[in-house]
């Protein structure tokens, strides 16, 4: 597993795509132009990018309420994504799902999910399927620190371990479940402390560093592809915005110092410094990456805004497959 220039560029690009996608979505939501509740991924980009670089469309992920970043990193198309957030019929889910259910099954993205910890058991099903069908594919559930207290996480982890399934459990430990700090929802600091209880390896990566995540994830995914069973990968990370939306409910539950500390660890400037220091990109070239993505986003938002709303008569369509 060599950290080539291509991989560096890829990590960077995926993170920048997420960052701008989320910032623009957050603004649209705040200004009342976008319906529903958005759980933004800003600050945690290194995790999605570092993992997703290893995955193909045949590898599956399950996501969370905080799912846009995962879909962007898994190659999500901005147009269909914004259209979905806007509830338009051109969206990935024809407007039926919205932010909390955005999905692209064709690319192995088995959906954001409004139910905390619903993803792991589904990913176990996908991992089981990969093994059953004799493929080398892996399934990767993403979930938060808070989610690890749900019974469904536990059941999934145990099943994956006893059946040695190709599943890599990626915990995005951002230190909070909504407004509750980790210390008040579990007596442990490291989610990896749970791995031994399933008989699977638990490894950690700095979730504010895409390269670190890439390395750790690569190891775990390779093990899974080789039939050596699941891994619990914990990435310590931080969300820069509130639980919902950018400024959220205005509750003071985190200190400015804490936020500042993690701002200093912002994974995007961090990798950009690496790119420049290692002569992969110049500052101008980096700016061009941002500009290109911002232009793509502007166009996608226009596309979404000009897209039709779904016809009310379609409300009862898509409940069942009818052949």
């Amino acid at each position: 597993m060599e950290l080539t220039k291509d991989i560096l560029l890829d990590l960077h690009r995926r993170m920048v795509r997420i960052r701008h996608f989320e910032d623009e979505a957050g603004k649209l939501s705040e200004s009342g132009q976008m319906p529903g509740a958005l759980h933004l991924y800003v600050g945690e980009e290194a995790v999605a990018a570092g993992v997703m670089v290893h995955l193909s469309d045949e590898d599956q992920i399950t996501s969370t309420h905080r799912g846009h970043g995962h879909l962007v990193a898994k190659g999500g198309d901005f147009k269909q994504m914004y259209a979905e957030l806007y509830g338009r019929s051109t969206g990935y889910n024809k407007g039926k799902g919205g932010s909390m259910h955005i999905a692209n099954v064709d690319a192995g993205m088995l959906g954001a999910n409004g139910i905390v910890a619903a993803g792991p058991p589904i990913a176990v099903g996908a991992g089981f399927s990969n093994k059953y069908r004799g493929t080398k594919n892996v399934a990767v559930p993403f979930f938060g620190d808070g989610a690890t207290n749900e019974g469904s996480f536990h059941e999934a982890a145990n099943m994956a371990a006893v059946w040695k399934l190709p599943v890599v459990f990626v915990c995005e430990n951002n230190g909070y479940g909504e407004f509750t700090p980790q210390a008040e929802h579990q007596a442990i600091k490291d989610i990896t402390d749970r791995a031994a209880g399933y008989g699977m390896p638990g490894i950690q990566a700095d979730g504010m560093d895409a390269i670190a995540v890439w390395e750790a994830a690569g190891e775990a995914i390779e093990r899974a592809r080789n039939g050596e069973g699941p891994t619990l990968l914990e990435c310590k990370t931080y969300r820069y915005y509130d639980h919902v939306g950018r400024s959220g409910i205005g509750l003071e539950y985190r200190s400015d110092e804490e936020l500042d500390e993690y701002r200093k660890e912002d994974p995007i400037p961090k990798i950009e410094k690496h790119l420049i220091d290692n002569n992969v990109l110049t500052a101008d070239e980096i700016q061009a990456v941002h500009d290109g993505i911002l232009a793509e986003i502007a166009e996608a938002i226009k596309f979404a805004e000009n897209s039709p709303l779904p016809d009310p008569s379609t409300v009862t369509e898509d409940v069942y497959y009818t052949g």
């Binding site: 509740a37 407007g95 749900e150 479940g177």
Partner: protein
């Protein structure tokens, strides 16, 4: 009973009536506590418990891990050993996470033990759609709960009733669900300042009328009241009944009305098929068959999950116009 004008004039929004109901319940019993996800410092994502954490402290207003099964288990164990737990399940959509603890433990323990324990447990949860939260945060699942012997189920529509339901639930020696409504948090109404309980199992006649009975559940009561105004213009004098409690159901108040009006429509936000409206309609025709001039109608959501997109969700949810149309249909107008 008939809705009576109270002498109290204080107006309070639904959201603050919830807070007051819980506050006064915590004051009334030292043995009462509130536990749930983010109910403490944040006062819930809905801010319905704002201030209670500061007032009662972390021993009595308790932020829990994200563990709904654990939370209901907490209620059962604490309720069986001398406390009066108030358990918050943030969205009623999440009861699937703890239906075993609800249906097999909370509801059945007293019976299985031959009556040798009480479980004075209140479960507070937020139901309903209307604010684009999509399929997993907008449901109305009261039918599941009403089918389980051992539970009581309330769906208060007004600020007055939500406060009174919470206090009534907390005073009751049995498990009581109070399903609050997220689209009603801003609705304002008279709420007496002192603690009071509504009567569990007693429906409320919200509007008297002679031509037609609408039984409207939860938030749909407000839509039914608007529908009644629309229909008044067509000369249809509608009586609106708010059951308030769905389990036990006040069948008598409903039947008394139908025996007078000879026609009825039941309305709820839940999916129509298998909703509590089916039970109410079945009971009406069983008990007042000869009084009926038309079949008992039902309006509920169509047979699909709750869609995200605003025009789809609007098409999905029952409202005043659909209710009025349903009444006209049953009467044979239009």
């Amino acid at each position: 009973m008939t809705a009576e004008a109270t002498t109290e004039a204080r107006q309070l929004p639904y959201i603050l009536a919830i807070t007051e109901g819980v506050r006064q319940s915590l004051q009334e019993y030292d043995t009462s506590f509130l536990a749930g996800e983010d109910v403490g410092l944040a006062g819930s994502v809905f801010r319905i418990y704002k201030g209670l954490y500061a007032e009662f402290g972390p021993e009595r207003v308790i932020d829990s891990p994200i563990s709904e099964a654990g939370l209901i288990g907490l209620g059962v164990g604490a309720g069986a050993t001398g406390l009066r737990p108030m358990i918050d399940i943030m969205f009623s959509d999440f009861i699937g996470e703890c239906m075993d603890e609800i249906a097999n433990q909370l509801a059945k323990t007293r019976y299985m033990f031959g009556g040798k324990t009480t479980l004075p447990v209140t479960v507070l949860t937020m139901g309903g759609g209307g604010i684009n939260l999509a399929a997993q945060h907008s449901q109305s699942l009261e039918a599941w709960l009403c089918h389980i012997p051992g539970l009581k189920v309330m769906m208060p529509a007004t600020p007055h009733d939500v406060k009174g339901a919470i206090i009534a639930a907390n005073r009751d020696e049995n498990p009581v669900f109070v399903i609050m409504n997220k689209a009603s948090l801003g609705i304002t109404g008279e709420v007496p300042e002192e603690p009071y309980a509504v009567n569990i199992g007693e429906a409320i006649v919200r509007r008297e009328g002679s031509n037609f009975t609408i039984v409207a559940i939860g938030r749909m009561m407000h839509e039914a009241m608007t529908a009644a105004e629309i229909l008044e213009k067509d000369g249809i004098d509608v009586e609106v009944i708010d059951p308030l409690t769905l389990q036990p159901l006040d069948t008598e108040t409903i039947l008394t009305s139908v025996r007078k009006t000879h026609r009825a429509l039941v309305v709820h936000e839940a999916v129509r098929f298998g909703g509590i409206g089916a039970e109410i309609a079945a009971q009406i025709q069983e008990n007042a068959f000869d009084d009926l001039d038309a079949p008992v109608g039902r309006i509920g959501a169509p047979f699909s999950p709750v869609p995200f997109s605003p025009p789809l969700e609007q098409a999905y949810l029952p409202n005043a116009q659909k209710i009025a149309d349903g009444v006209k249909d049953l009467i044979g107008l239009d």
